[in-house]
């Protein structure tokens, strides 16, 4: 459904945010993982047609989205990482505004907005001005505007930022369900969010696609490359220089260090292989890419 081919984005100051990025997506949830500045937001802005690439193409259902942005916009729901709201409007007024821009009108618009207000649990604050909203409430308004109009392509950049744990789980489940019959691109730093709902994970680093695989494939690749060792506190620095540490826990018997070693058996005394988590697998992919 969505074909991204050879996408490169070079900004005016010479920064290359994306470099020959190619990816093909069908229905389901794609988790986009990568360190800060990896190019995730640039990629999503280009797919959402708010930014033009230097080279490359984006095709949605076979139509060139860069030549005909409306083709993608008609079916798009987009939640950017940093989005503003009009403080003087109420949540309902803002959603109605976006609804009109999506072509809804009359009773249909009212029904769709009401549906979204209930969906994101904002009914008690629906007629309050957005200027008084907390960060989490604003985020829910952002989610509502993205879902308005039943989008077939949903692009969400860090959607769970600012949400309380309960709302985060709710939204995660909602995204998971939305993946049926739709294409969802989810960018986040929270690996557990991706693990819970993504059917495929794309790891992006320095503007390049490092790996695109299912969570199971990533985990399978990490088997035998994740280790745990107990080291004296005074040796911790030395260990940190030698291996990529994914977790540290200080205990009475020393520091419990969990780390990845791409080449297999590491040179840390007493290290034992452990079952990898997706976080380990992500770290391993990054370490391998950096190497």
């Amino acid at each position: 459904m969505l074909e991204i081919t050879g996408l490169t984005k070079r900004y005016g100051n010479g920064t290359v945010a994306l470099s020959d990025f190619t990816l093909s997506l069908g229905e389901g949830v794609l988790g986009l993982l990568g360190p800060n500045g990896a190019g995730k937001t640039t990629l999503m802005s280009i797919v959402a047609t708010v930014l033009r690439p230097t080279t490359g193409t984006v095709r949605w259902r076979g139509v060139d989205a860069l030549g005909d942005p409306l083709a993608i916009r008609r079916e798009l729901g987009y939640l950017p990482q940093d989005f503003g709201v009009y403080d003087k409007l109420t949540a309902v007024e803002l959603l109605r505004y976006f609804g009109r821009l999506k072509g809804l009108a009359g009773k249909e618009l009212k029904v769709a907005v009401d549906e979204m207000i209930d969906l994101v649990n904002l009914r008690p604050a629906a007629n309050r001005r957005l200027g008084g909203f907390s960060g989490g409430m604003r985020q829910r308004v952002g989610i509502a505007q993205a879902l308005l109009g039943d989008p077939k392509l949903l692009i969400v950049d860090e959607p769970t930022v600012g949400l309380d744990p309960e709302e985060r789980v709710r939204f995660r489940n909602l995204l998971s369900e939305l993946g049926h019959g739709r294409t969802v691109i989810l960018s986040t730093h929270i690996v557990s969010d991706v693990e819970a709902i993504a059917e495929r994970i794309a790891v992006i680093r320095q503007g390049r696609l490092v790996r695109c695989a299912t969570p199971e494939e990533l985990l399978a690749h990490a088997v035998g490359r994740v280790w745990r060792a107990v080291v004296p506190a005074e040796r911790l620095g030395e260990v940190q220089r030698a291996v990529a540490v994914s977790n540290l826990t200080r205990r009475a018997d020393g520091v419990h260090v969990r780390f990845v070693a791409p080449a297999g058996e590491p040179a840390v005394a007493g290290a034992a292989a452990v079952e990898p988590t997706l976080e380990d697998a992500y770290l391993l992919t990054n370490v391998e890419a950096a190497a």
Partner: protein
């Protein structure tokens, strides 16, 4: 803790406050100096200096005084050129500079920077003092640049020795107080609800006239043109009284009137020696006292900020009690049952240009402040006010229209909604076209009664008003898009409006007065259209750049 330790700690805190303020001044001045508005302002200041000091034998002059029925101006000595450039700086920069420096507190509040600053050791007072100092320093730097044309103009047209003291001293006496005053009022407007934003930008034009001209002239007895009533004053932010006194010392007979505007003449004005500036203790004291008046708006700003800055932390107020949502509707959201896809109610959106224009037009109305109500009342009143009295509601409508539409074209940039809005399917490829259509549609709808009344006056007035509304809408959209804000449009439009409503004004852009010149109105409409074409070109260039 010992007494010594307490002293050291508080001294450290004071040092920290000063360091924080200096850091704030440095950061804000640097970022403002890098703004394109600064370059535009400096260019405008240079152009104004050259226009204000024409060649001495030119058939135009800027500073003239009438004595015994004859009009004179000064010979271009270092003292005269220095005084003229200083006066120009202290009159022009406060008007324009206000728009350059106001809005930074509003931005901090809207973008939630203030809570971060409030969580540091910086107090609200030092935060505001830092803001004021930053604005003052920036304006003073701009004002200092006006000295460059002063030196050039003296070298080009000057007579007598290049007395640097005479050339620079008027600036040193006038500019600091004028800039300090402007910075303080910009801050006061910035922290006062109702004044921060578009309404305040329009109001400043009138407040400026009162603060910098009417009040000093009134309290010093210079308004009645009777020298017997003249008295010294410690309130003279633009230096009008200071300049008047310099002229009075240059002539032997009483000065009947002084003209400060640039006037076209039939023949060159006779030029007479201008009294050299004598700086004495009393003059220095008066200028220092004028500077001291800055404390009033500054203090008011600090008090107002304490009252309003914490509002964001309070529970958000209900928009209207009669629209309160029912308490029963608070049931927790549940994902639709079943493992299948989420089923939204089916709807058939038909995004189109017309619907997106309608959405934007409605947003214009919703996001306008209380000003929209008197604007609408003025529009309606234009239908019922009889005779030539109709010019009053028409003029009021045109003035109040500006803040309602002034920021429409830059709304997404100001609120940070660009990514979400511009990804919507109803928008055409050209966002400029979308904005122009929405603003024009809104203006024509709001101005329908005004337009109808103008048509009833006579066909010429109707057409003139249509052209005027076209100018207003296109200039708001074009300039708003080009500048990424509404300040330039609001400042320039308000100044133009003020000139246009004068009797038989040659700049009546909408046929407000009795004698409407269609040619003038058409010229203004063309200017508006050109600003839109420029905006579209910039949009295309940005798009090409990606």
């Amino acid at each position: 803790m010992s007494a010594l330790a307490v002293t050291a700690a508080s001294a450290g805190a004071r040092g920290q406050t000063w360091r924080a303020m200096i850091a704030q001044v440095g950061a804000e001045t640097r970022s403002r100096l890098r703004s394109p508005s600064t370059i535009l302002t400096v260019l405008a200041l240079f152009a104004a200096s050259f226009a204000y000091v024409p060649p001495p034998d030119a058939k135009r002059a800027s500073i003239m005084w009438e004595v015994a029925g004859r009009t004179y101006s000064g010979t271009y000595t270092a003292g005269f050129i220095g005084a003229v450039v200083a006066l120009l700086t202290s009159m022009l920069l406060p008007l324009v500079g206000f728009y350059l420096v106001t809005g930074s507190v509003r931005r901090d509040l809207e973008r939630r920077v203030w809570p971060i600053i409030a969580a540091t050791r910086t107090s609200a007072t030092s935060y505001l003092l830092g803001k004021w100092l930053a604005s003052f320093a920036y304006l003073l730097v701009l004002a200092a640049l006006a000295l460059l044309p002063a030196i050039y103009l003296f070298l080009r047209y000057g007579t007598g020795p290049l007395a640097l003291g005479q050339l620079l001293m008027p600036w040193l006496l006038l500019a600091p107080a004028a800039m300090a005053f402007t910075a303080a009022f910009a801050l006061l407007f910035d922290v006062t609800p109702g004044l921060r934003g578009r309404g305040g930008y329009v109001l400043w034009f009138f407040v400026f006239s009162f603060l910098f001209m009417m009040i000093p002239a009134g309290v010093s007895g210079r308004l009645d043109q009777d020298p017997k009533n003249d008295r010294s004053t410690t309130y003279d932010p633009a230096g009008l009284v200071f300049f008047h006194d310099l002229i009075a010392r240059s002539v032997t007979e009483p000065v009947h009137s002084i003209s400060l505007g640039l006037i076209i003449l039939d023949e060159p004005v006779p030029r007479v020696p201008f009294a050299p500036l004598r700086v004495d203790g009393e003059l220095l004291l008066r200028r220092a006292a004028t500077f001291g008046w800055t404390a009033l708006p500054l203090l008011a700003a600090i008090c107002m900020f304490r009252l309003t800055a914490g509002r964001g932390a309070r529970a958000p107020r209900q928009r209207s009690w009669w629209r309160r949502a029912p308490a029963a509707a608070t049931a927790d959201w549940q994902a639709p049952a079943g493992a299948s896809a989420v089923a939204f109610r089916p709807h058939h959106g038909a995004p189109s240009f017309a619907r997106s224009v309608l959405a934007e037009g409605m947003l214009l109305w919703q996001s306008a402040s209380w000003i929209k109500w008197p604007m609408l009342a003025a529009s309606a009143a234009s239908l019922v006010v009889p005779g030539s009295g109709v010019t009053a509601p028409i003029a009021i409508f045109l003035l109040l229209l500006a803040p309602v539409i002034g920021e429409a074209a830059a709304r997404e940039e100001l609120a940070g909604t660009g990514a979400t809005v511009f990804a919507q399917p109803g928008l055409p490829r050209s966002r400029v076209a979308w904005k122009v259509a929405a603003v024009l549609g809104f203006v024509l709808l709001a101005a329908a009664p005004v337009l109808l009344r103008s048509l009833l006056r006579d066909g010429g007035h109707g057409l003139a008003m249509l052209l005027g509304l076209l100018f207003t809408a296109t200039a708001a959209a074009g300039l708003g898009w080009l500048t990424g804000g509404g300040k330039l449009f609001l400042g320039a439009y308000t100044a133009l409006w003020y000139v246009a409503i004068q009797r038989d004004s040659p700049l009546d852009f909408a046929g407000i007065g009795e004698r409407a010149s269609l040619l003038t109105c058409a010229a203004f409409a063309a200017v508006g259209v050109v600003s839109v074409i420029l905006a579209a070109a910039v949009e295309k260039a940005r798009e090409a750049r990606g």
